[in-house]
């Protein structure tokens, strides 16, 4: 209950952002929340289930292109494209998950990098379908309604921000339920000790696959919505660099902790975007920070928080 109250308060506070923030600030906040959904999703497979992945941006892209292609070819709206993005990204999560079952450690990292690369190259090369390097323009969400009851018009930057905030809120609730369910306990069991997990009756194959699918589905949701916000889906938004940034967010925040990727998303999106003219050194910043974190603080910011708590106790 305490958790729920804090969560509701945080969302309410964030909902007020358009009141105080200008255009740039609001774009940064929208990006923050998008990164949050991506990192929270990645944390399910990499943090809780222990299956490292460099492919989160690929699923992000698959979600975005689902919106773009379905809008273009079928004329469907956001309430069709968003679930479609989730489902299609989830299915591709299965496509990555199956070969990933056979490998661990560095080899798993390589498999996920290969998957990320194949998706990126497909987006670039399959020009007829994906628009190639230029990508696809996406119409705005425009006038829409939830079940024909709550009507609203999504046009301004503010309304895209609120839509992204709503997605982030739902993503956090879903992630909370996942990791606090039986399934979440099985993910952790697989991460801690696969042999023991099998010995107590956990089907480690389906457990891992479910983590890959869940993680990809989160990215798909973020992508499907982000295509609207950006009004375009273009391959360069879905490179391995984006995957690395999401990975950095999760690791800096604290992988395998619930708050870690959430805290990480705020810090690692807002700081680099505030670097002004230095922001072209963003990747350098991420790289150095990631190395420092992995070396000196493998548990991320949440490890600091935990240490401080135990010292007080």
């Amino acid at each position: 209950m305490k958790h729920l109250a804090l969560f509701a308060a945080a969302i309410a506070l964030l909902a007020l952002a358009p009141v105080v923030l200008g255009g740039h600030g609001l774009s940064v906040m929208t990006l923050t929340l998008t990164n949050l959904v991506l990192a929270v999703g990645l944390n399910l497979v990499a943090g809780y289930c222990g299956q490292f992945s460099f492919a989160q941006a690929a699923f992000f892209g698959i979600g975005a292109y689902t919106t773009a292609i379905m809008s273009r070819d079928l004329g469907t709206g956001v309430w069709i494209n968003l679930p479609a993005g989730i489902i299609i990204a989830g299915l591709f999560g299965l496509v990555l998950g199956v070969p990933a079952l056979r490998v661990k450690g560095h080899f798993l990292a390589i498999v996920t990098i290969a998957f990320q690369t194949v998706v990126y190259l497909t987006l670039v090369q399959w020009t007829d379908f994906t628009g190639g390097q230029n990508g696809i323009l996406v119409p705005g969400v425009g006038e829409t309604s939830i079940l024909g009851i709550i009507r609203f018009n999504v046009q301004s930057l503010d309304s895209y921000y609120w839509l992204t905030l709503a997605l982030a809120a739902v993503a956090i609730v879903v992630a909370w339920r996942l990791v606090h369910s039986r399934l979440g306990r099985e993910w952790i069991a697989v991460r801690d000790d696969e042999t023991l997990a099998q010995a107590v009756g956990v089907n480690t194959t389906t457990t891992k696959l479910s983590a890959f699918v869940a993680s990809a589905a989160f990215a798909g949701a973020a992508g499907a919505l982000n295509a609207y916000t950006m009004r375009t889906a273009a391959p360069d938004d879905f490179t391995i660099f984006i995957s690395s940034i999401i990975l950095a967010i999760m690791i800096l925040g604290g992988k395998g902790t619930f708050l870690g990727p959430i805290v990480g998303a705020f810090i690692l999106t807002i700081i680099p975007e505030s670097l002004g003219e230095f922001s072209r050194y963003k990747m350098l910043f991420f790289g150095v920070l990631l190395i420092l974190t992995i070396t000196f603080l493998p548990g991320g910011i949440m490890q600091l928080v935990r240490n401080a708590r135990t010292r007080r106790a």
């Binding site: 339920r177 996942l178 606090h180 369910s181 039986r182 399934l183 306990r185 099985e186 952790i188 069991a189 991460r191 801690d192 000790d193 042999t195 023991l196 997990a197 099998q198 010995a199 107590v200 009756g201 956990v202 089907n203 480690t204 395998g256």
Partner: protein, 269 residues
């Protein structure tokens, strides 16, 4: 034998002609092991004689090169380890294994998933029915922790416990999973003498109160003598003797095996 007769006399576990090689060495060489309903069978032998390999073959962690394994009347030779666990085979590990990032209680609860009847969806949605079931298994976990004198540690990280206590968690977790057969790989290893007495009492209760049949690997002969109805002796992967504990330890072939390999200090004790 008619089919009904077979069923009546059929043991819980029936492993026949099991062979397992690792490269050049044959770790298990044509071994038969049976465990009857409610029986405690000792599996002993010098270091490297193939005892743990046998357990890993029975749980499915390793596949045999030859032989068949029947459990509760079913051929499980090719069945995956997690399925064998669901059928009712629990195990402990010679080298302690724990879900190291979990609390003692969560370590216990992992063993209950196999019996949860509520669907995954109701667990995800935290429906009242799922919550009721979760509360029920938590209560059972607490009861078992109490039996193993661990109840005050339920909420603690499992790694905060001593190795001896973690061994007890391992046993409690196994019992919680409601197995028909529990494979114990050197449960007394590293326990202080008073705790060995407690262990003996607990293993007896597992059989008497929970009806669990047990295959017990143990070097401590006192434990073997006090618990086992029957003992199977391995040497270099071969079964060299089988019978009542007292008869077996006096069997010249058994003594020879232990002396030949350098009589294990623990076995002498």
């Amino acid at each position: 034998m008619t089919e009904t007769e077979t069923n009546m006399t059929r043991p819980v576990l029936e492993a026949r002609g099991i062979v397992r090689r690792f490269g050049g060495i044959t770790a298990v060489d044509g071994v038969d092991v049976t465990v009857g309903q409610g029986e405690i069978v000792g599996l002993i032998g010098p270091n490297g004689s193939g005892k743990s390999t046998m357990v890993n073959l029975l749980t499915g962690e390793l596949a045999p090169d030859k032989g068949t394994i029947r459990f509760a009347g079913k051929d499980i030779t090719g069945v995956a380890p997690y399925r064998r666990a669901r059928l009712g085979i629990a195990r402990s590990f010679q080298m302690l294994r724990m879900f190291t990032s979990m609390s003692v209680e969560d370590n216990m609860l992992t063993a209950t998933h196999i019996h949860m009847k509520r669907g995954l969806l109701s667990s995800l949605l935290n429906l009242p029915s799922a919550r009721a079931e979760e509360d029920e298994v938590r209560a059972r976990a607490r009861d078992l922790l109490a039996m193993f004198e661990l109840e005050q540690f339920a909420g603690r990280p499992v790694t905060a416990l001593s190795i001896g206590q973690q061994r007890m968690v391992e046993l409690a977790r196994g019992v919680l999973s409601g197995p028909k057969l529990f494979l114990l790989d050197e449960p007394a290893a590293g326990l202080a003498p008073p705790n060995v007495d407690r262990l003996i009492a607990l293993i007896k209760r597992m059989r008497d109160e929970f009806g669990i049949s047990i295959l017990l690997i143990e070097h401590d002969m006192r434990v073997v003598r006090e618990l086992c109805d029957r003992v199977v002796v391995l040497d270099s992967g071969e079964l060299i003797a089988e019978g009542h504990p007292e008869t077996v330890v006096n069997d010249p072939a058994v003594i020879e095996a232990y002396i030949g390999k350098g009589w294990s200090r623990r076995a002498q004790a």
